[in-house]
Each structure stands twice: as C-alpha cells, then as structure tokens.
C-alpha cells in the first residue's frame, strides 16, 4: 500500500500548478537557435521603432505648437473686431489630439439681459394689478 502511495505522488516535484512566469520562462528557454535569433532581432527593431515614434511625436508637438500660436492670433484678432464668433480646432499632437473651442457671443448675453428685464417688468405689473 505504501509503495502505491509513493507512486501516486511523484518525488521532488511541486504539486502546485505552473505560474504564468514559469510558462513564460519555459517558452523562452524552449526556443530553438533560429527562433532565439529572430526574437533578439525583433527586440532590437522594437527599440528603434519606439525611438522613431518618439521623434515623430516630438515633431507633431512642435507643429501643433505653431498651429496653436496661429489660432491664438486669429482668435485675438476676431475678439477685437467681431461680436459673435466660434472657433473649433483640432490638433494632432505628440500623444493624441487636442481640441480647442473659443467662443464669443454678445447676442446671447444681450438676449439674456433683455429677457430678465422683461420678466422683472411683467412681475412688477402683475404685482401692481393685484394690489388694485
């Protein structure tokens, strides 16, 4: 009976399942020479690709900065000359896209003020009539 139990539990082997790290280690150690060479080459290519992407991103950032400065100039010119305007701009930048919205609307402000004045007048008239 004891002999049978010895066979059921292999000696010098963990009963715990393999961890994710073990699987990765086993996979990397099991690569043949050609595969190992390909992995090394691809890793070097990736380093270069990331560096190139970073350089491209920096270039996009510089270009976006110029475009943003132009936008500010145009918006300030409009701000001095025009009562109502709305500018929507999107810039491709180093890490994504930046969206800028600049808006000036005197009409709305005037309409709100007129609306408030009308409501106040109506309320005053109502109160006067109710007292009568």
């Amino acid at each position: 009976m004891d002999d049978e139990n010895d066979e059921l539990v292999p000696q010098k082997q963990s009963l715990f399942p393999l961890t994710a790290d073990d699987i990765v280690d086993n996979a990397l150690q099991s690569l043949d020479e050609q595969q190992a060479k390909e992995v090394t080459k691809k890793a070097a290519d990736e380093v270069v690709r990331i560096a190139v992407e970073k350089r491209k991103a920096e270039y996009r950032s510089d270009r976006a900065q110029d475009e943003m400065r132009n936008l500010i100039n145009n918006a300030n010119l409009l701000d001095d000359k025009v009562a109502d305007y709305k500018i929507n701009s999107t810039f491709e930048t180093a890490t994504g896209t930046t969206t800028v919205e600049i808006r000036k609307s005197k009409t709305n402000t005037t309409l709100i003020i007129i609306g408030v004045v009308v409501i106040v007048l109506l309320l005053t008239l109502m109160l006067v009539f109710m007292k009568w």
Binding site: A27, K42, A43, A57, S61, T97, T98, T99, I102
Partner: protein
C-alpha cells in the same frame, strides 16, 4: 382521455424544445461567423508592409488563384461588405500563423492585443497646474495593464498557436514594448501641457480645451481648465 392530453402536452413541450434548440444553434453559428469576420478585420488592420508579407505567404501556401481572390476581396472583408467563409478564416488565422516568421507573428499579435485586450478608458478634468498629479497614476495603471494584459481565454482557445513558444516570446516582447510606449507618453506630455498653458495664457477668456491621450491599451480624455488662480 387523460393520457391523450398528457401525450399532447409532452409532444408540445418536445416541439418547443427542439425549435428553441435549433434557433439557438443557428444564432450561435451566426455569432461564430461574425466573430470570425471580426477577427479577420483585425488581422487586415496590419500596416502595408506586413499586409504585403501576409499575402505573399498566403500565395505560397494556398496558390496564386486563392491569393488573387484574397487581394481582390480584402477591402470588402475589411469593410464588412463580404463576410469571409470558414475556410478563409482558417487559412488566415489558423494555418498561416504556423508558418509566419517571428516578425509577422509579432505584428499580428500586436493587432490582436490592441483589439481584444481590455482597455483603460478614462475621462478626467484637470487644472493646468495639477495635471501631473491626476494623470500620473492613470498612466501608471495603463503601463501596468500593458505588462499584464492577456487576450481573452475564448480567443486563446481558438487560436491555439498563441500558446506556442515563439508566440509566448512575442507576447512578452510586445508587452514590454507597449509599456515603454505608454511610459514615453508621460515625458511627451510635459511639452504638450506647456503648449496648452501658453494657449490658455494668450487666448480669449472663453476658451475650452480638451486633450485625448491615446495609448496602446487605453485612452484618457482630459478636460483642461485654467490654473487655480483663475478659479
């Protein structure tokens, strides 16, 4: 009489069960076919050079005529106008990966990871003065996500080549690469926010700015307000 009624009842239940099973099997088939179409679409997102390598390999493995058909139809597969059949799916995603070189396999895996690994999507509002304290932990989380991200189990069960040694090596390599790319974004953000600050300082008052930070396994939409002195 009672037996007859019981028999009719059992027959009705049987018919209902069989119809239900047939309908659900049909739906499952459709779902699987749609799933295959989606997987092929992801594969066809490869960059031009990799796609060219893929079609060359397709020609070597399955002949000139099949390759010509694939080249002529791939835009329709990509747009969803034509749904690829099971043979096409198997050729592209089961058979070809077994003969792909490591470079192409990595590119296929990159597309699969970007399409199927869980992504971190955030929407935050920051002030131009305190963006770093809000964004740093989110970016760190996405870096961590890139390191540990796994394709869904259902996909791994279907694409068994993903478990092979070279695919495992490709996964480790891409995880590290995507984590580095995400880390680089943090450095680049310094310059981005300096540009945005300049814009906010000089633009008219009613200026709203938002920035979408795109990362390999996530994105952060950032609404930027003026510094605290402006309220």
């Amino acid at each position: 009489m009672l037996y007859l009624l019981l028999l009719i009842f059992i027959s009705l239940v049987g018919v209902f069960y069989l119809r239900h099973r047939a309908a659900s099997a049909n739906q499952k088939r459709l779902t699987r076919s749609q799933e295959n179409a989606n997987l092929l679409k992801v594969l066809l997102e490869l960059d031009v050079d990799s796609l060219d390598d893929l079609f060359k390999l397709y020609q070597v493995e399955f002949g000139e005529s099949a390759a010509r058909y694939a080249r002529n139809t791939y835009q329709k597969w990509k747009s969803g106008d034509v749904r690829p059949n099971k043979q096409t799916f198997r050729r592209f995603l089961i058979n070809l990966p077994r003969v792909m070189n490591f470079d192409l396999k990595c590119e296929v895996l990159r597309e699969l990871r970007e399409a199927y690994c869980p992504r971190g999507e955030y929407d935050v509002t920051v002030s131009i003065d305190d963006w770093k304290s809000t964004l740093t932990p989110l970016i760190e989380e996405i870096v961590q996500r890139a390191t540990t991200a796994e394709l869904p189990q259902s996909l791994q069960r279907r694409l068994t080549w993903l478990a092979e040694n070279d695919a495992t090596a490709a996964k480790v390599l891409l995880a590290e690469s995507q984590a580095r790319e995400t880390g680089n974004a943090m450095t680049l953000l310094e310059k981005e926010f300096s540009n945005i600050e300049e814009l906010l300082d000089n633009a008219p008052r009613n200026t709203r700015i938002s920035h979408v930070l795109k990362l390999p396994l996530g994105s952060i939409k950032v609404h930027i307000t003026r510094g605290s002195e402006d309220g």
